[in-house]
């Protein structure tokens, strides 16, 4: 894990170029960014998209203490001690977040939760958690993004708006690349977008299918039925999906005619009516299509290392998110051990948030409960969550100040190339220090 601690300092005034740096802003995890760095500032981020440029160029070191205890500046040591004390005193400790941390830090977080018999959950539970559950039901036919670039001739986006959420998706992976088997790039591909509204991505589509809001499940099952050659009543289809049967029939004909079809899907599928049933329908449709041609599906993941969080939690506990260790071993139950639930149900009595902001985006009962319990927050900046924390650590930003490993949305692990040092500790360092103290308190001797 040397990558997380290596120094990236340059003398004042000197220009430094970091080639092939990795952007962790979204799940695309573009690793071809050339950064120009001067005086602890990134002045250029070549090849980065609008979001990536904002991520790199607007980055500055927060001028605030690395550690606050009860809102007052404190030494790191005092913060580590208090953090370990909080986590080991409670009966139902929770650790949440992780999706904007490198795997090296995520691993330490899972260790801590194991030593304190706690519950660990990641932001997956509020984005593609339903897809994870659907996956456990039907599986998934998928591929790496380079396969899409080299082979995908029918590219569908369902409930996903990459033009705004993953700006380089089209150019780097899915629509524009001249692939091995698609020498003419965009001309060799057909793009279909299915959504409840005409998003910015819709402009990129050859075919845009606007379905009725909350009718994703019906739309997907219409396609499943058509794939099997089942006759459907046009009136019922129009009523249930908001789209003419003829449009669905045409789409299915194209799907069957494709050599290598791809469905990218987003939170428009997972966080709308039906949730995991929608994801399951989409994954099942993809699977069905493999009786006729090659077809794959892939969730468009949001956070830079949410895929890494799924992987780390899974290899260490056997389950991808929402894992409870109160009996001393891992148990999985989304809806019970997921953080929005442990908070809203008033069960958690202490916790730690890592690179996430539940005080800004959880439900009112969850926020209310979180603000009533002692917790530790690690973030690169001040947020509503750090403000209400008993112990708040300002940490260095991964991929800009610290190294490590992140997993792209297609599970490809990619190393980080930090640009310059931060005066703040990395989350890996903070978590390692907390773990050391927790082990001592709990009596772990290894």
């Amino acid at each position: 894990m040397a990558a997380t601690t290596e120094s990236t300092a340059t003398p004042p005034g000197e220009l430094k170029i970091v080639q092939d740096a990795t952007c962790t802003f979204c799940g695309c995890v573009c690793d071809d960014i050339d950064l120009t760095v001067q005086d602890n500032h990134i002045t250029e981020a070549k090849r980065a998209c609008v979001l990536g440029k904002a991520w790199f160029l607007n980055h500055s070191i927060e001028d605030r203490p690395s550690c606050l205890v009860d809102g007052k500046p404190a030494t790191l040591e005092a913060g580590y001690d208090r953090a370990a004390q909080i986590l080991t005193t409670g009966k139902y400790p929770i650790i949440y977040g992780l999706s904007d941390s490198p795997c090296e830090a995520q691993r330490v977080a899972v260790s801590i939760v194991d030593w304190i018999n706690g519950t660990i959950d990641t932001t997956t539970s509020v984005c593609h958690g339903p897809s994870g559950m659907a996956f456990q039901g039907v599986g998934e036919v998928t591929c790496s993004l380079g396969e899409v670039a080299n082979r995908g001739d029918l590219i569908m986006f369902w409930g996903s708006n990459p033009a705004e959420s993953h700006p380089r998706h089209f150019t780097k992976y899915s629509l524009m690349p001249k692939g091995m088997f698609l020498p003419n790039g965009r001309k060799d591909r057909t793009c279909v977008i299915v959504d409840v509204r005409r998003t910015k991505s819709a402009k990129a589509a050859d075919i845009f299918v606007q379905i009725k809001p909350r009718a994703d499940f019906e739309g997907l099952w219409t396609l499943r039925a058509l794939a099997k050659g089942i006759d459907l009543d046009p009136k019922v289809v129009l009523r249930d999906t908001g789209v003419e049967l003829a449009v669905w029939t045409d789409l299915m004909a194209r799907m069957k005619a494709a050599k290598f079809g791809v469905i990218f899907f987003g939170m428009g599928v997972t966080m709308t009516r039906g949730k995991h049933a929608n994801s399951e329908a989409l994954l099942a449709l993809t699977r069905d299509m493999n009786a006729y041609t090659r077809f794959v599906a892939k969730p468009n993941r949001g956070h830079g290392n949410v895929t890494g969080a799924d992987n780390v939690v899974a290899w260490r506990t056997g389950y991808p998110f929402g894992v409870n260790h109160s009996r001393g071993y891992p148990r999985f139950n989304p809806g019970e051990y997921t953080t929005s639930d442990t908070l809203a149900n008033g069960e958690a009595d202490c916790g730690m948030t890592i690179a996430c902001d539940p005080m800004a985006n959880f439900s009112q009962p969850a926020r209310q409960h979180l603000s009533s319990i002692p917790y530790i927050a690690l973030d690169t900046k001040e947020t509503p969550t750090t403000r209400a924390a008993a112990v708040a650590f300002t940490v260095a930003t991964y991929g800009i100040n610290t190294g490590g490993t992140v997993y792209r949305m297609d599970d490809v692990p990619i190393p980080l190339r930090p640009a310059f040092d931060s005066p703040h500790p990395s989350d890996f360092e903070v978590l390692t220090q907390i773990e050391r103290r927790v082990k001592k308190i709990v009596g772990i001797t290894s």
Binding site: F260, P330, S446
Partner: protein
């Protein structure tokens, strides 16, 4: 060496077949993680002496073919919560992490359970190069074992392209580069050519060694021969590890024989041979039968070939393979959930839950065919115990397999629970051979060490790694092997009677062959044209290894 801190294993009954020791009472001296000479100065006392009188001492076990880390294993973990919920809980202790079991245990549980069985080294058999970093990260969380992995190459575009263009030097440089970049151990061929066809056609696959792989216009035979030759020239410790085409298909024994012949005398290892030894009509389960006899005959008369078995055990498990079309085929048979994952330029992957039933003629035959392989290969140095964990069953079944091999009465008793047609369709009922303890030591440690080119493992001679298992003898060999008295790894006691005592992480075993670096330019050019990550970000650096061990 008076200052050394010695551990002594005193008066154990030692089985060390690599050094010709077959059950002799001996002392072993250990210092700095290795077996050493007894100190000449009689006043030197060991810091600790283990009284092994009456106990059996063997080198630590070596699993040369299992699936324990990396992308596909982790997908299987995520996919199968149901069996973990039913599995035996693995609570944390004051020194060890918690974990989950089922057919695909979590990383810590994997390390602890292997060590608990007396295994100290294991190799993951199928890592896509693009996922190498992931495998190393999991290895770092898999304690008590030295670990390495084989790198999937049988459907790699550069490999096929160099063969098509008849550029053996490029192929050789590429294999050297790829093993170095991934910090891998050996080239692995999985359904060579077949996975590429699967990527471009519905239910696509090759049908035999001379099928054309479209676009590249090479054949599986050319891939096998080309890689075996290049790997041989690179001087790799384990040149090529082959999962043949047509796995699981009735009549596939022809393909397997063809594969062995296609090596043309080059060293090659045929893995999970059980799944590749079937007679019968093409796709016809009614004519399914064993063809181990002719295949074992070939192995017996060709010393360049080694095999591991891939034993099937009755029960529920998860099939996971780099053989994408096989995953599709199995998912259609079992009708359960199915994962398929294609990796650009490199490989595929298929995962589906399966259940082997002793009432099923096909499954019982698979079980019998595995046992036939152990019993029909005359030279135990060239047949290795494996279940292809978790494909044929869990590694936790090894003690049961040992009993099946050492106790023919038990074997006949289990055979009686299977459909009687097995007796006509295989030779198992006629085989009376029983393995000795020395032969078990060969097929579980000394043999795999030799086949893998691990000079410091699989034996207890001076200078060997102090990886040692001490068993309490028992009439029932399953009982004896399932709960070793002590397991020592790198000279440290890691397990005592099933309890973890010292969860050290272990080394990563990898190779660093010499290759022509001038050819890297052409590899880079190809790479940058088609990969979705940058050339610079592809190689795995040494920070990913807890402790690196380059095997030469």
């Amino acid at each position: 060496m008076p200052n050394l801190d010695y551990l002594k294993i005193s008066q154990g009954t030692v089985y060390d077949p690599a050094n010709g020791i077959d059950g002799e009472i001996r002392d072993l001296w250990i210092a700095e993680g290795r077996i050493v000479d007894a100190p000449t100065d009689p006043s030197v006392r060991p810091s600790r002496t283990i009284d092994a009188a009456g106990l059996v001492v063997m080198p630590g076990g070596i699993d040369m073919h299992c699936h324990i880390a990396g992308p596909k294993v982790n997908v299987a973990r995520k996919m199968r919560p149901e069996e973990k919920r039913r599995g035996v809980p693995m609570p944390r202790t004051s020194i060890a992490h918690s974990g989950t079991m089922g057919s695909v245990p979590s990383t810590f549980a994997t390390g602890y359970k292997y060590a608990g069985l007396g295994y100290t080294t294991a190799f993951d058999a199928a890592i896509p190069p693009l996922g190498a970093r992931h495998a190393h990260e999991e290895f770092d969380d898999t304690p008590c074992l030295d670990k390495g992995f084989y790198v999937l190459m049988g459907n790699n575009h550069f490999v096929m392209q160099s063969i098509q263009q008849n550029e053996p030097q490029k192929l050789k440089a590429f294999i050297g580069w790829l093993l170095t970049a991934t910090k891998g151990f050996a080239p692995k061929l999985v359904n060579p050519g077949g996975v590429e066809v699967w990527k471009s056609h519905q239910a696509g696959n090759v049908s035999g060694l001379d099928s054309d792989v479209d676009h590249f216009h090479v054949t599986p035979r050319q891939i096998i021969r080309g890689v075996a030759q290049a790997a041989g020239e690179l001087g790799l410790p384990h040149p090529v590890h082959i999962h043949c085409n047509n796995l699981g298909m009735p009549g596939n024994w022809h393909t397997t024989l063809d594969t062995m012949q296609s090596l043309e005398g080059h060293r090659g290892h045929i893995t999970h041979a059980q799944f590749h030894s079937y007679g019968g009509g093409n796709g016809d389960e009614n004519t399914f039968n064993s063809k181990v006899l002719p295949l074992a005959d070939y192995v017996n008369s060709h010393s360049n070939i080694t095999i591991d078995v891939g034993q099937v055990l009755f029960g529920e498990t998860t099939s996971m393979t780099g053989d994408g079309p096989l995953g599709y085929f199995l998912s259609k048979i079992y009708g359960g959930k199915w994962f398929s994952g294609d990796t650009e330029m490199e490989s595929g992957c298929g995962i589906t839950p399966i259940k082997y039933k002793n009432k099923s003629l096909v499954h019982s035959l698979q079980w019998a065919i595995g046992l036939e392989w152990y019993l029909l290969v005359n030279d135990p140095w060239r047949v290795v115990m494996s279940t292809d964990h978790p494909n044929g069953g869990s590694f936790l079944a090894y003690p049961q397999i040992i009993r099946l091999l050492m106790d023919r009465t038990y074997r006949q008793d289990v055979l009686k629970t299977c459909p009687p047609e097995i007796l006509q369709r295989s030779t198992l009922g006629d085989l009376t051979r029983e393995y000795t303890l020395n032969e078990i030591a060969i097929i579980t440690r000394a043999g795999p060490a030799r086949i893998l080119g691990l000079k410091d493992k699989g034996h207890l001679g001076i200078g060997a790694d102090a990886d040692i298992t001490i068993y309490t003898p028992h009439e029932n060999k399953e009982t004896m092997f399932e709960l070793p008295r002590l397991v020592i790894k790198s000279g440290r006691i890691v397990v005592e009677q099933g309890e973890i005592r010292d969860p050290l992480i272990g080394k990563t075993l990898h190779v660093q062959p010499d290759y022509d670096h001038d050819l890297e330019g052409s590899i880079q050019e190809w790479f940058e044209k088609y990969y979705s990550i940058r050339w610079r970000n592809y190689p795995v650096d040494s920070s990913y290894m807890h402790e690196s061990c380059v095997v030469k």
